[in-house]
């Protein structure tokens, strides 16, 4: 019962500490929001279009970026300096500039040049073929219209309509595109979900690493003094602290899960499976807290080293950049962190409709992590406390 | 010390002269017209309970608190928040342990020495001296977070002595100190006074004020309620000294003989001796004993009980001094 009281005190302390609340609850949700906003547009290419006077042909060319299988994000510029700036700073992946009186000049039979601007070495070079293809499609129409005008009379501008009419009736000469394979990030994970999963894992662990204050104080103040002042056994304090950290981790995880699904529509997948992963990961966090409590010399030290260690582990575990983007060696290293396993489980639940049974491997690994951490902590505490 | 010792009561200009000091925080008046002087070699005690205005008064005297009114002069120079140079004559020992726990005693001293313009060999020599004075010479290289409470208190005082101030201000320097360290601290304050330093000493411990202070100001609710030597203050209360004589002989006869003496208010036989209520027991003791001897008494022990500041304080404020 005393252990429960100590556990409850942990939760109450969290509720009273305003900074704690910011870092434990608000910050992860804020990050979920900002990351979600960043990638709400997906990873589709961004093109900057500089056009002061595009006319109907120009408008048609610009609109053709929207009809691509995965539409590009377009930003329109009228100022040349701003357009170059955007390319140089990477606000857009590539830029095209239509010459003045684009429509008028093409219809009058004049040849025009479109400027294509990329920053060297970037993804923009790869985009060039797509831009060339869209321009070529329009050039084909204009070219045909001019040919017709030359052969049969009339102006190129007027002949455009004939060309378009005939084009619609001609048998298809086309490129068909299909996809194959299984998506690494199913659509369900995009938007806010990927970010919410990462932040949950990152912050539950961070809070655990920095929160073992009571245990550290108990250790450094000297257990005998502690026991004299309150008739509480060492084992009770340890169990209470463990339960307390577990309760804090679980509460934090629950808040993030509920808030993110209500506010941002984040998908967490099958309830039992998600609960199993979250509980197992909270146990890992509590185990890590005990280990920190067993080795740190003072709360301030646990605070600063906990933050740094938590962020490094989180990064390695794929909380900041998905581990799918890592080089192969780092992907293997990543598997040594509990973060990677928790994320794996959560992604399987949300993205691939995995069930409770399906995430048992990940849950098993997490429980093993928790057992090892707790074992190390108890072993270390026994050495310290029985000295 | 370079200062020549000054005999008490000499008419040399005072080291500290302050008058009509005032400070209010919002609607609460903390200090309300406090003023006093301290001469070289004199130890002045500011005695009062917690919250009486002692620390506020001291902060204004040291020029670290903006005052609402009044004047402060130390060694003839006006002191204020905006006049840093005038503070060079003051050695301030705050009530808090104002030392850096993560630095050694020597590093603490060296830092404050530089703030008072001491550096190089002169600073090192003076640091050795003050470490001697407070008896920390052998622990000077240790970080102060490894010190005992008493050692920290002593270092706290040592910092205030570094620049050989004309006026040393000690704000409750013995709070939370074990009896042994306390005795050592009181002894060094006595020694400093003997060497000619003017000392302002606040305390709410009666026995410290009685032991150290040449003059005492009793402060309560931001005002000096009474001021003077211990004797002067006690006479305010109107209480007299008690002399207990352990004696054998004709007690009633002796009592009658003594009762007739000038300065004796009352003389009554008691169990195994006489009890006298007198004025100025110390000044008249020889006369009393002579009369008793003439009356055929054989005196084996004499005890003089003087009324103390505790009683004075109780008389002036209607409250006990201790928290």
């Amino acid at each position: 019962m005393k252990a429960l009281a100590i556990a409850r005190a942990n939760l109450v302390r969290l509720g009273r500490d305003r900074l704690g609340l910011f870092f434990v609850v608000l910050l992860p949700i804020l990050l979920v929001l900002v990351i979600g906003l960043q990638f709400a547009g997906g990873f589709s290419p961004r093109i900057g279009v500089l056009a002061t006077d595009p006319g109907p042909l120009g408008d048609a060319l610009i609109a053709s970026f929207d009809r691509l299988q995965e539409p590009w994000q377009r930003t329109r510029f009228t100022d040349r300096t701003a357009w170059i700036d955007a390319v140089e700073r990477g606000t857009v992946d590539a830029g095209i500039a239509l010459p003045d009186r684009y429509d008028e000049r093409l219809r009058a039979g004049e040849d025009v040049a479109i400027e294509y601007l990329v920053e060297g070495g970037s993804v923009g070079i790869g985009l060039e073929t797509t831009v060339r293809a869209l321009v070529a499609a329009q050039a084909a129409e204009v070219r045909a219209a001019r040919f017709v005008a030359a052969e049969a009379g009339g102006t190129a501008g007027a002949r455009l309509d004939d060309v378009r009419r005939v084009a619609a009736a001609l048998p298809d000469l086309r490129v068909s595109t299909e996809t194959a394979g299984e998506e690494v990030f199913p659509a369900a994970l995009l938007g806010f979900t990927l970010g919410a999963q990462s932040q949950l894992v990152l912050f539950v662990f961070l809070t655990s690493l920095t929160g073992a204050t009571q245990l550290i104080l108990t250790r450094t103040l000297g257990v005998s003094r502690r026991m004299l002042s309150t008739p509480t056994s060492v084992a009770t304090i340890l169990v209470g602290e463990f339960l307390g950290r577990f309760a804090v981790a679980l509460t934090q995880a629950l808040i993030i899960v509920v808030a993110s699904s209500v506010a941002f529509g984040v998908v967490w997948g099958e309830l039992a499976g998600a609960a199993a992963v979250v509980v197992a990961f909270a146990l890992v966090g509590a185990g890590a807290a005990m280990l920190i409590g067993a080795v740190a010399t003072n709360p301030e030290q646990a605070g600063s080293f906990g933050v740094v260690g938590g962020m490094l582990l989180g990064a390695a575990g794929g909380c900041m950049v998905p581990s799918e983007f890592f080089p192969p060696v780092m992907q293997t290293v990543s598997r040594l962190t509990p973060h990677a396993w928790a994320l794996d489980g959560l992604r399987a639940l949300a993205g691939r409709d995995a069930t409770f049974v399906g995430v048992m491997p990940q849950v098993g690994v997490l429980l093993a992590f928790a057992a090892v951490l707790l074992g190390l902590a108890v072993w270390r505490l026994r050495v310290v406390l029985t000295r | 010390m370079t200062e020549p010792a000054v005999v008490h009561g000499a008419t040399a200009p005072p080291v500290l002269a302050c008058s009509d000091l005032r400070k209010r925080y919002g609607s609460r008046v903390a200090v309300d017209g406090v003023g006093f002087t301290i001469a070289a070699g004199e130890t002045y005690g500011l005695l009062g309970p917690n919250g009486a205005g002692k620390t506020t008064t001291i902060s204004m005297i040291c020029g670290i608190l903006v005052r609402d009114g009044g004047t402060v002069e130390v060694a003839g120079t006006p002191v204020d928040v905006g006049t840093p140079a005038a503070r060079a004559a003051i050695g301030y020992v705050p009530q808090d342990l104002a030392i850096y726990p993560d630095l050694t005693a020597r590093e603490n001293l060296a830092f404050f020495a530089r703030l008072y313009g001491l550096s190089g060999g002169a600073a090192r020599a003076r640091i050795d001296e003050v470490l001697e004075i407070v008896d920390l010479a052998d622990r000077g290289g240790d970080r102060t977070d490894q010190y005992s409470g008493g050692m920290k208190r002593r270092l706290n005082i040592a910092i205030g002595l570094l620049h050989r101030p004309r006026l040393l201000v000690l704000d409750e320097p013995t709070v939370g100190v074990d009896p042994q360290s306390r005795n050592a601290i009181l002894a060094s304050v006595e020694a400093l006074g003997r060497e000619g330093m003017a000392i302002l000493y606040t305390t709410h411990y009666m026995e410290e004020a009685e032991r150290l202070c040449d003059r005492v100001g009793i402060i309560d609710e931001g005002r000096i309620q009474a001021e003077g030597t211990r004797r002067e203050l006690v006479s305010l209360v109107g209480q007299r000294d008690t002399v207990n004589l352990a004696a054998t002989g004709d007690l009633p006869a002796a009592a009658a003989a003594l009762a007739g003496l000038d300065g004796v208010v009352e003389a009554t036989p008691a169990d195994g001796g006489l009890e006298l209520i007198v004025d100025d027991a110390r000044g008249n003791l020889a006369r009393f004993l002579g009369t008793a001897s003439d009356a055929g008494l054989s005196v084996s022990a004499v005890e003089v009980v003087e009324p103390n500041l505790e009683a004075v304080f109780l008389h002036l404020t209607g409250r006990a001094l201790r928290d």
Binding site: V34, V123, V142, F147, D162, V175, T177 | V66, A98
Partner: protein, 395 residues
């Protein structure tokens, strides 16, 4: 001034003794920057793909397609080509992402085009290789469009003239149409990159993030010394209030600028970061240190206790870093995020470091970021220092 130096020296000595200060100032940002440099492969922005080519047609048009546009991709260094015997094999490879996409020219393609009936080139892309698939599709479309343009020119002429389709006339028209000019040309130019490489970006962003924890120390320690009583002891010495504040600021500046310098040098030597022109980097570092000191001084003086100040400073450090794009670039975010980022030193510092990416960029390239950083620092710092001086003098 001597007193200010004494205070600065004392503060620095205390900070250097405190291992967690070093952890926050140097170990943490360097560790995280190193971690990101490890995690994000260099040249992540480069575009390099592998395509499978299945030529079941073996006709003249297939040969022209392979010799023209496909060979062009290889020459441009964009793609690597793997020849595969059948569409089925190619689909398996694509599914396993052994190749990013397959370009299949079906049997009878050339004949169908010549005969004027429907024909197609098939592109099969891996589901995660969007861009690679799009490029393959575009290359094939460019080739098909040329064929279509001529066919369209011929067909429209015949329709407009109202003549009866005649193979000889069609061939004659087609030959003439082929000789017409393409009316729209594309002129490619390469802009200077004003984006830092990933090692440089993360070294810079982590440095500026943790700088906010280091920069708060001066004014924070004023509050701390007020609590422990050492501040009134310093104030009781013959030292003016401004000298105390100056000493604190000096120590903070040395600590912050020092740890930034260590980070710049260490990330250059160990992580391969390329910061650019040293003089310009120095000015940017000075600017960001001043602005971080200003903002944290202002926040700290608005609070009463060290704990409150620490809390608010941590929150500000986080929020400003997120807005300023220190964790992920804000350029993909919505407009209001990009506008808000202008208020953060993080955004200006990172923008400045990005502007130094072109090899010839010097101080003149980063005058605006430098000015913005100093402006933020001077405005917030002036208010902060005035308020800090009031902490020193009791009121």
């Amino acid at each position: 001034m001597r007193a200010a130096l004494a205070i600065a020296a004392k503060d620095l000595r205390q900070r250097i003794r405190d291992r967690s200060a070093i952890a926050i100032a140097i170990v943490a940002p360097f560790g995280l920057a190193a971690m990101f440099a490890l995690l994000i492969p260099t040249g992540a922005g480069a575009f390099q793909v592998t395509y499978a080519v299945v030529d079941a047609d073996r006709g003249p048009l297939a040969a022209a397609f392979r010799a023209g546009p496909l060979a062009g991709l290889v020459d441009a260094g964009v793609a690597e080509l793997v020849e595969l015997p059948s569409e089925a094999v190619a689909r398996d490879r694509v599914a396993a992402r052994a190749v990013d996409a397959a370009i299949v020219i079906p049997a009878g393609f050339s004949d169908a085009v010549v005969a004027g009936v429907a024909a197609e080139i098939v592109v099969v892309g891996n589901v995660d290789a969007n861009l690679a698939t799009q490029v393959a599709t575009s290359v094939a479309s460019g080739f098909i469009d040329e064929l279509a343009a001529i066919r369209l020119a011929v067909a429209t002429t015949i329709v407009v003239e109202g003549s009866v389709p005649d193979p000889a006339r069609s061939t004659e028209l087609a030959e003439r149409a082929q000789r017409t000019r393409v009316p729209i040309d594309i002129v490619g130019t390469t802009a200077d990159s004003r984006q830092a490489g990933s090692a440089t970006f993360y070294a810079a962003s982590m440095a500026v993030f943790f700088l906010f924890f280091t920069a708060q120390f001066g004014v924070l320690s004023l509050l701390g010394e007020r609590r422990t009583g050492t501040l009134s002891r310093i104030a009781a010495a013959p030292v003016p209030a401004w000298a105390i504040v100056l000493g604190k600021a000096l120590a903070t500046f040395v600590l912050a600028a020092g740890s930034m310098t260590v980070l710049v040098v260490a990330s250059s030597l160990l992580l391969g970061a390329r910061w650019g022109d040293p003089a310009a980097v120095s000015l940017l570092v000075l600017g960001v240190v001043v602005s971080a000191m200003g903002i944290t001084a202002l926040i700290t003086t608005l609070t009463r206790t060290e704990e409150q100040a620490g809390n608010w400073n941590s929150i500000a450090a986080m929020v400003l870093a997120i807005l300023g794009g220190a964790f992920f670039p804000v350029s993909r975010g919505p407009e209001f995020l990009q506008q808000a980022s202008v208020l953060t030193p993080h955004a200006w510092f990172l923008r400045g470091i990005g502007d130094l990416a072109p090899p010839d960029a010097g101080i003149s390239a980063v005058l605006v970021p430098i000015a913005a950083l100093f402006a933020i620092g001077i405005v917030t710092g002036a208010v902060g220092l005035l308020r800090a001086a009031r902490i020193v003098v009791g009121r």
